[in-house]
């Protein structure tokens, strides 16, 4: 009767459209086979987003599939255009989910039901149309009294009957019913289901019944197909699938239905899935690359990584002679501002799963000093452009190695601007924004992007800072293992970040006190 093979459909996903260029395609149907025999009822079940509604609409050629074939009564209708489909349409009809929106609110029930008769020229004479509509309404247990009302004057169950009357008006051989009882009370639902069963028996109708509710499917269908993520994970006779579901997802769907039996275990045994993507990473056994590894926080990172059982560390610095190699430590010559060196490093370190962008500089020098311009340029070059170029080079490496993690050493000053440290603040602010952008872009490949924003740290740049380098390294690596995206090591940084969330203006005022004299 109806046969579809390897049905595929991809649609543009405007929610992920880049600023320029076309939106990416998203696969809604990923190769689905469907077959319905004359007079048979096939149930299609799935949760939201499974593609069941799209499948139903593609089968009646409301959508044109991007792959596969659809045959209706032996005829290939996959590529037919609308004029060619038109003479076939009376044979396959659709009943829509929401009768409120699929019935024209400005037409009476009589006009709505008569419309297909007129459109397809089945009836030209008014009296005959009248009789036929009365007959159809009676068939769905509505009375002639309903005929002159408007859709909003009927109850949900009655409206759905109108949808059914309209669908059977042309005496189709196949009807696709999409979630037609989902908004109804159980009592109207039971009536509509009984009506469908009768119509099938009387008219020899083949039915494709799309629903999220397996209990409902069981009462109307002979066979059932379970959809998940654009594919049919299981299909077979109802008797077989309900008794012995083979696929774990079918089992889960069945178990999730709350049958009206008192059963305290049903809730107790439900597992609550932790939601939110799980990007936690195990540092033990991973392969890390640390830039600026020869001093300060970089050195602390190397020590802490070894402590946590990392398999290998590439320690990178402009001057590799300041680095010591060991069994697990491989020094790499790398200046993040030189594109050639960054590219070479990405080739050499093709097995990295954890990239720690620690290299940074801060001249902390007066704005009107002689070398202020050069200093500012270097800060932007190293802190922002250097980090960006490292990420651009290593993103494919991380993807190839299963996602991995990027840690960017930022600064709380990237979030609260210190005027006397303008170029440093700006470089860190740019890096902060970039971190958020990179995080969004790389979420798809499963890469965790951690931003570390300490306050002052006791290093050569800011001697006597309140936080010690090992504390920063520990906090950052804890975040990697917890799958946490932003960390603020040190009391000051934590205070500022909380303050920013509550009252950004007040923080800036407060922060003015930290300005160097």
């Amino acid at each position: 009767m109806l046969e579809a093979e390897d049905l595929r459909l991809s649609l543009p996903d405007y929610s992920r459209k880049p600023l320029f260029g076309p939106p990416p395609l998203v696969d809604i149907l990923k190769g689905v086979d469907v077959s319905v025999m004359p007079g048979e009822a096939l149930g299609i079940v799935g949760e939201s987003g499974s593609g069941k509604t799209t499948l139903g609409r593609t089968l009646v050629r409301l959508y044109k599939p991007t792959g596969g074939r659809i045959r209706l009564g032996g005829r290939d209708i996959t590529d037919l255009d609308e004029p060619a489909l038109r003479p076939l349409r009376p044979r396959f009809q659709m009943i829509f989910q929401d009768p409120q929106s699929s019935l024209n609110p400005r037409r009476t029930i009589r006009e709505i039901v008569a419309q297909p008769l007129h459109v397809y020229g089945m009836i030209t004479d008014r009296a005959a149309a009248r009789r036929r509509v009365d007959e159809l309404l009676e068939r769905v247990s509505l009375t002639a009294a309903h005929a002159d009302r408007y859709p909003h004057e009927l109850s949900g169950g009655q409206r759905q009957r109108v949808g059914i009357a309209r669908a059977i008006a042309l005496e189709p051989t196949l009807v696709v019913a999409d979630e037609i009882v989902s908004g109804l009370d159980v009592s109207s639902q039971a009536q509509i289901l009984a009506l469908l069963r009768e119509l099938r028996a009387d008219m020899g109708l083949a039915l494709i019944f799309i629903s999220h509710d397996l209990s409902v499917i069981r009462t109307v269908c002979d066979r059932v197909m379970v959809m998940l993520d654009g594919q049919a994970v299981e299909s077979g006779s109802c008797a077989q699938i309900f008794a012995e579901p083979k696929h774990a997802y079918t089992r889960r769907l069945l178990d999730a239905i709350p049958l009206p039996d008192v059963d305290p275990d049903w809730l107790r045994t439900a597992s609550i899935v932790e939601t939110g993507e799980d990007l936690r990473m195990n540092i033990k056994g991973s392969i890390a690359l640390v830039t600026g590894a020869n001093r300060g926080i970089g050195e602390a990172f190397v020590a802490e990584l070894l402590e946590r059982g990392v398999a290998k560390i590439y320690t990178a610095a402009r001057d590799p002679s300041s680095l010591t190699a060991s069994e697990k430590v491989v020094p790499v010559k790398l200046d993040v501002t030189i594109p050639g060196e960054v590219e070479a490093a990405a080739k050499q370190c093709g097995d990295v799963t954890l990239l720690i962008n620690n290299a940074g500089c801060n001249f902390n020098a007066p704005l009107f000093a002689e070398d202020a311009m050069a200093n500012a340029r270097t800060e932007i070059e190293v802190n922002y452009l250097g980090t960006l170029s490292m990420i651009r080079a290593f993103a494919p490496v991380l993807e190839a190695n299963g996602g991995g993690c990027i840690v960017n050493m930022l600064s709380i000053i990237g979030r609260v601007n210190l005027p006397a440290l303008g170029s440093y603040s700006a470089s860190k602010a740019a890096e902060y924004s970039m971190t958020q952008g990179v995080r969004a872009q790389l979420a798809g490949q499963g890469t965790l992007v951690v931003g570390v924003m300490p306050g002052t740290v006791d290093t050569r740049m800011t001697p006597g800072g309140e936080t010690k380098p090992p504390e920063v390294a520990t906090a950052a690596l804890d975040a990697v293992e917890a799958g946490q995206e932003d960390v603020y090591p040190g009391g000051m940084a934590q205070g500022v970040s909380q303050g920013l969330a509550a009252d950004a203006k007040a923080v800036e005022k407060e922060f003015a006190a930290y300005l160097p004299e």
Partner: protein, 293 residues
């Protein structure tokens, strides 16, 4: 044990353009501390309206024409709005039906949780922020630190419903009105959310008035249940008794009209029209009697 919520003989009409529709016709029910009390009925039974009266959010066209609603020992039926608001949060809270429209689309998740904590518990920003993170972790949201900064449209329906549950439990209220809290969710998500509500409810010792049309959900989560039809209580009792041995013909009919995948042999029996007519006639007779009295 004295009831946390005690509704006695509640009558309510909707008055619109000189027409008066009787919505509640003498509803009585009580919710005990720490119990989940199901209020079940089909659409138009008035179950949502009962919840709205309890929360003080009934529409302006609704008039309470008789009876009383006592919460935690005090009469709240005709309480002025300002006094009513002071009950919200730590006293009463709501888990709404629709996770898509019940959050403010223009505000971050974190702010929507801290608002409640700051308003009702007078917490400072820092403390409220920390508590919001803890609440999100309580409802099993990982990466709470990221979620607080997200907007509702960035979350799935199930996640949003978890956020709403976190908000409802934020101030550890004595009573939560849950109005069809899982109706809009997929079944696998529904099961998790029901479990989550039960877990939070047991930990906080909160009582819940659980409004639903689904007898299956009642059977799984409710301790006691009240069956409502056309604004009248037809039956009430322990959930097990009502589900397993329903006394009222209407409850029995509802059970028979509920499809179940494990009983393929049973054909669904729609609620007999004669029974519906009988119940409607009884409601009309009740109205006449009350008008005469």
């Amino acid at each position: 044990m004295s009831a946390i919520l005690d509704i006695r003989d509640l009558h309510l009409d909707i008055v619109a353009s000189r027409r008066r529709n009787h919505i509640l016709r003498g509803v009585s029910l009580d919710v005990r501390p720490g119990e989940v009390h199901g209020l079940v009925g089909e659409s138009g039974a008035g179950k949502t309206m009962v919840g709205k009266v309890v929360l003080g959010i009934a529409p302006p066209t609704a008039q309470v024409t008789g009876g009383s609603v006592r919460f935690d020992g005090g009469e709240i039926t005709h309480m002025p709005d300002r006094a009513r608001r002071s009950l919200m949060g730590a006293g009463l809270a709501l888990i709404p039906q629709d996770p898509m429209t019940s959050l403010n689309p223009a505000r971050r998740i974190g702010d929507q949780i801290t608002d409640v904590l700051r308003l009702h518990l007078g917490m400072g920003a820092g403390e409220a922020g920390e508590r919001a993170l803890a609440l999100l972790r309580d409802v099993h949201i990982r990466n709470a630190g990221r979620v607080v900064r997200q907007y509702p449209h960035e979350l799935s329906g199930g996640m949003r419903q978890r956020v709403l549950i976190a908000i409802a439990f934020a101030c550890r209220p004595k009573l939560i009105v849950a109005d069809e809290p899982t109706t809009a969710l997929d079944v696998t998500v529904q099961r998790q959310v029901l479990r989550l509500i039960k877990e939070m409810q047991e930990n906080a010792g909160t009582a819940i008035l659980f409004v639903t049309h689904d007898l299956g959900v009642v059977a799984k989560i409710c301790d006691r249940v009240t069956v409502l039809q056309a604004g009248r209580v037809l039956e009430h009792g322990p959930a097990r008794r009502v589900i397993e041995e329903p006394e009222h013909p209407y409850t029995r009919a509802l059970m028979k009209a509920t499809p179940r995948y494990d009983r393929p042999g049973d054909l669904l029996e729609p609620v007999p029209p004669a029974l519906v007519d009988e119940l409607n006639a009884a409601a009309a007779a009740y109205d006449r009697e009350r008008a005469g009295a």
